[in-house]
Amino acid sequence: MKPNKFRFSALTIRLLLIFLTVLCAVPFVVVFINSTHSSLDIIKQFNILPGDSLGENYQTMQSLVDIWRGFVNSVVITVPYTLLTGYFGAMIAYGFAKYRFRFKNVLYAIVLVSMMIPSQLSIIGFYRLCLNLKMTNSYLPFIIPGIANATTVFFLRGMIEQSISDSMIEAPRIEGCSEFGIFNRIVLPCIMPGVATMCIFNFVASWNAYMGPLIILQRKELYTMPVMISMIKGLYVTNYGAMYLAVAISVIPIMIVFAIFSRYIIDGLTTGSEK
C-alpha cells in the first residue's frame, strides 16, 4: 500500500466520522439553544449562542400544557414496569435455566415466538381487552405486561446458564433454604449486572412507548410524555420557544441515562447480539 494513499484515506475517514458526529449532535444542540430564545429570535435568525428567554418560554410552555405532569405520569408507568421486567424476567429465566420439567422446550419456544410477534399489530385487540377489563384510563395495561418480557427472559436465561453453577444452588438447598429463597438470595444478586442492563433497555422502551398510551389513555391529565409531545404542535401554534423547550425537556432524561450508562447499554447490546 502506498503511504500517501493511506494518508488520504485516513483523512477521509476522520472527516466522515466528524461529519456523522456533527449530524448526530447538531439537532440536539439547536433544540437546547433555541429553547432559550424567544419565538421571534428563532424565526429571525439561526441562533448559535444561548439566549435569555428561557424563563419566558418556560412560563408559556407551562401555561398551555403541564409538561411536568406528563413527566411524572411517564415515571409512574416506567419505573414499576422496569422493576417488573427485571425481577420477573430473572425469575422466569431461572425457572427455564435450572429446572427440568415436562414441556419445557415447548414452553420456551412460546417465549421465543412471543418475542417475534409485532405487538403493535394486535393493538385493536389490546384496546378491546382494556375496555372489557375497564382499564382504559389506567396505567396497569402498561405496567403489568412487564412481567412477561420475553427478551429479558431470553437474555437472562443465557446468563444464568453461564454464570450460575448447579452446586451454587444445591448447597443452600441442602442447608434447607427454600427454592424461592435461593432465587432471591443467591441467584438474583449474582446476575444483577445482567438484570440492570436489561432494565436500562426496558426503561428506555417504556419511556418511549407511544401508540399504546395514545389509545388507552383518554383523560388529558393522564397523558405520558410522548403523547403530550405529539400533541403540542397543535397547542403551541407559533410559540416556537416553548415547543423547543418542551422537546428539550423530553430528551434530557434519556440523555442523562445514556451519559451515565452508555457503557452498559452498548455492552448489553453487543453481548445480546452475539448469542
Binding site: M91, R100, F126, E179, I229, S230, Y244, I266, E274
Partner: protein, 310 residues
C-alpha cells in the same frame, strides 16, 4: 401436584430433577400475563377482523366482508407502498453506512471508537415522537433553522417548503429513520465482527489480499447471520412505522397521504373513524404480509450460503 415429588424425594438424590414443579411455579407468571396481555389481544384482533364494531354497540359478525373491502382499498395499497418505500429509503443507506463504518473500525486503528459508537447510537434511544417533532421544528416553514442556514449559504431555491412536496417529505421520513437507526445497526454489526477470528485477516493479508477483498470475502460472509437478523428485524419494525411520520408530518401523512403508513392508516380507521373491525383486518393483513415476506427473506438470504448456520 405438590405432593407427588415430596413422596419420591427420599428415594432419589436431591437434585434439580426433583424440583420440577418449582420450575412451573417460576415460569408461571410469564404465561399468565402473556395469555392475557399478549395472546388474547391477538385472538381478539383476528375475531374483530370478521366483525363490524364501532366501539359502542355490540359487534356484528360480517364474515369476510372486511377482507373483501381491503382488496379494493386504494388507500391501503398506497399506505403499504409508502411503508415499503420509506423502509427501503432508510434501510439501504443504513446498512451501507453501517458496513462502511464497520470496515473503518475493523481495518483502521481509529482513536475514539467507543466515543463514536456511543454518539451514533444516541439518536436511537430518544423518544421517536420527540425526534419527529424536533425535525419538524428544524425544517418546517420559511424561517425554520434549516431554511435560514440554506438561505445564508446561498442555496438556490431556498427557503424550501419541505412539507409541500411528496417526494421530499417521504425522503425526509426515510432520512429521520436513517438518522435514528444507522448507529444501532453499526453497533450490532461491529459486535458481529468481534467473533471473526483475527488470524483469518492476517492469513488473507499474507496471501496478498487487499483490505476491500478481505472485507467482502471474509468479513461479510462470516457476519452473514448478524446481517440476516438485522435485515429481518429492521423490516418487521419498518413495516410498523408510526411515530416518526405522524409527528414529522401529521396524522394524515400529508402532503397527499405521501407518508401515510399502514400503522397510521389502521390507527385512523380504528380510533378516528371508529371502524374497529376494518382496522383489525388491516392489522391481520399486515401481519400476514410481514410473516410471509420475512419468511421469504430469511430463506433467500440463508440459501446464498448454506455453510453458515444462524
Amino acid at each position: 401436584m405438590q405432593a407427588a415429588p415430596e413422596m419420591q424425594a427420599p428415594r432419589k438424590r436431591k437434585s434439580r430433577l426433583d424440583r420440577g414443579w418449582h420450575g412451573y411455579l417460576f415460569i408461571a407468571p410469564f404465561f399468565v400475563v402473556f395469555l392475557i396481555f399478549g395472546l388474547y389481544p391477538i385472538i381478539s384482533t383476528f375475531q374483530l377482523s370478521l366483525q363490524k364494531w364501532d366501539g359502542m354497540m355490540p359487534a356484528i359478525q360480517i364474515g369476510l366482508r372486511n377482507y373483501a373491502r381491503i382488496f379494493g382499498d386504494q388507500v391501503f395499497y398506497l399506505s403499504l407502498w409508502n411503508t415499503i418505500r420509506i423502509w427501503f429509503g432508510n434501510a439501504i443507506p443504513q446498512f451501507g453506512m453501517a458496513l462502511v463504518l464497520t470496515a473503518i473500525f475493523t481495518f483502521f486503528r481509529v482513536r475514539g471508537k467507543n466515543f463514536y459508537r456511543a454518539v451514533f447510537y444516541l439518536p436511537n434511544l430518544i423518544t421517536a415522537t420527540s425526534v419527529g417533532l424536533l425535525f419538524n421544528l428544524l425544517l418546517e416553514g420559511d424561517h425554520s433553522p434549516i431554511n435560514q442556514l440554506l438561505v445564508t449559504l446561498g442555496v438556490s431555491g431556498a427557503p424550501i417548503s419541505f412539507f409541500m412536496n411528496k417526494t421530499l417529505t417521504s425522503g425526509l421520513v426515510s432520512f429521520v429513520q436513517w438518522w435514528m437507526w444507522f448507529g444501532y445497526t453499526t453497533v450490532i454489526i461491529l459486535a458481529g465482527t468481534t467473533t471473526v477470528d483475527k488470524s483469518l485477516y492476517e492469513a488473507a493479508m499474507v496471501d496478498g489480499a487487499s483490505k476491500s477483498q478481505t472485507f467482502w470475502k471474509i468479513t461479510i460472509p462470516l457476519i452473514q447471520p448478524t446481517l440476516v437478523y438485522l435485515a429481518i428485524t429492521s423490516f418487521i419494525g419498518g413495516m410498523q412505522l408510526f411515530d416518526v411520520p405522524l409527528t414529522l408530518s401529521n396524522n394524515l401523512g400529508d402532503p397527499g397521504k405521501a407518508v401515510l403508513t399502514v400503522s397510521m392508516y389502521l390507527y385512523n380507521q380504528g380510533f378516528k373513524n371508529f371502524n374497529y373491525g376494518y382496522s383489525a383486518t388491516i392489522s391481520c393483513v399486515l401481519f400476514l404480509f410481514i410473516a410471509v415476506m420475512s419468511g421469504f427473506a430469511y430463506k433467500a438470504m440463508r440459501r446464498k450460503d448454506g455453510m453458515y448456520k444462524l
